[in-house]
């Protein structure tokens, strides 16, 4: 067992930012907008760092795919306690079309190269809400997967995962190497403090390109258009029950 955990960290528009759709509906405005680490990825990093603090694993490697700015997200992971970073450089049109399948291929290639024992990812990113990368990565590697984890415990060469499922919880035990995706309640991510950000500057980030890993990032998906969610219609006040019934009939509800 390598004792190495790979953690995926995605740079997304900050959760507190009001998203604006581009006037031509080709996407959302990202220029000059505050970005930060996807909150579910923070939970994934925290879990990996906690496993290391408990000496159950030896090394935490943070990976991010994207342009130069993805390194800031890796720095945050390093400040939280990851040991080193891998920046998979994807920019321009390739970055615009980068989706779960392409990222999964990159993560799968890195997992083999790094001989990872575990891959921990956020269950989804708050920008595209795909919830696919963990599942696809496990499939490409033919590894077991423990998705929507709200509790993770390493037991020898197995990992026990408490999963959040509709209306309850499911406990599974899977063999490692495996892929685990983090749900919201898995842990409380620590804050990347200024002193730790400073210390993290000494940690190494290596830069690779998808081609170096033998990965083709061509996408077969085309985004046709992006729209704002429908605006909520203004309500009407009614004086009496008769009025209410009348309005409902008018609206064809009854």
């Amino acid at each position: 067992m390598s004792g190495r955990v790979l953690v995926g960290v995605k740079r997304v528009i900050d959760y507190a930012v009001k998203i604006r759709v581009k006037p031509d509906n080709s996407g959302v405005v990202t220029d000059g907008v505050k970005h930060s680490m996807n909150p579910f990825c923070e939970i994934a990093v925290e879990e990996a760092v906690k496993l290391k603090e408990k000496k159950l694993i030896k090394e935490v490697v943070a990976v991010s795919c994207g342009p130069q700015q993805a390194q800031e997200t890796i720095r945050t992971a390093l400040a939280m306690g990851a040991d080193r970073g891998i920046h998979v450089e994807v920019s321009g049109k390739d970055y615009d079309a980068l989706g779960p399948l392409q990222v999964s291929k990159i993560l799968a290639a890195l997992a083999k190269k790094e001989e990872a024992q575990l891959i921990i990812l956020g269950k989804q990113a708050i920008d595209d809400d795909c919830n696919q990368t963990g599942q696809m990565t496990a499939a490409l590697l033919d590894w077991p997967q423990g998705t929507f984890a709200s509790e993770v415990s390493l037991e020898g060469d197995k990992v026990k995962v408490l999963r959040e499922i509709d209306g309850g919880l499911e406990t599974i035990k899977i063999n490692t190497p495996a892929v685990v995706t983090a749900d919201l309640r898995l842990n409380t991510p620590r804050y990347a403090t200024l002193p730790n950000i400073m210390k993290a500057k000494k940690k190494k980030i290596v830069n690779v390109k998808p081609a170096d890993l033998g990965v083709d990032v061509t996408s077969r998906l085309e985004i046709l258009r992006v729209d704002d969610p429908p605006q909520r219609q203004a309500g009407v006040k009614v004086e009496t029950v008769e009025d209410l019934v009348g309005k409902l009939k008018e609206a064809g509800r009854i």
Partner: protein
Amino acid sequence: GSMANPLRTEVVRLYKNLLYLGREYPRGGDYFRDRLRAAFAKNRAVQDPEKIKEMIARGEYVARELEALYYLRKYRAMKKRYYEE
């Protein structure tokens, strides 16, 4: 000041840390920075090491409170977006 206080480094470190944390403050980084600066300026003449240590502890407490506030805010936003019908 001209009298170099041995606690100066710690005070500067605390100030920088709070300034960094303040960038995420819900009412804005500028709002936070103005108040932070005023709070430190108000006590700039304090010389008593015990008093300074007390104030540093208080500042560190504020920093931890800010971290907790930011976490809770984010957690609540995620919970509302993804877990409540």
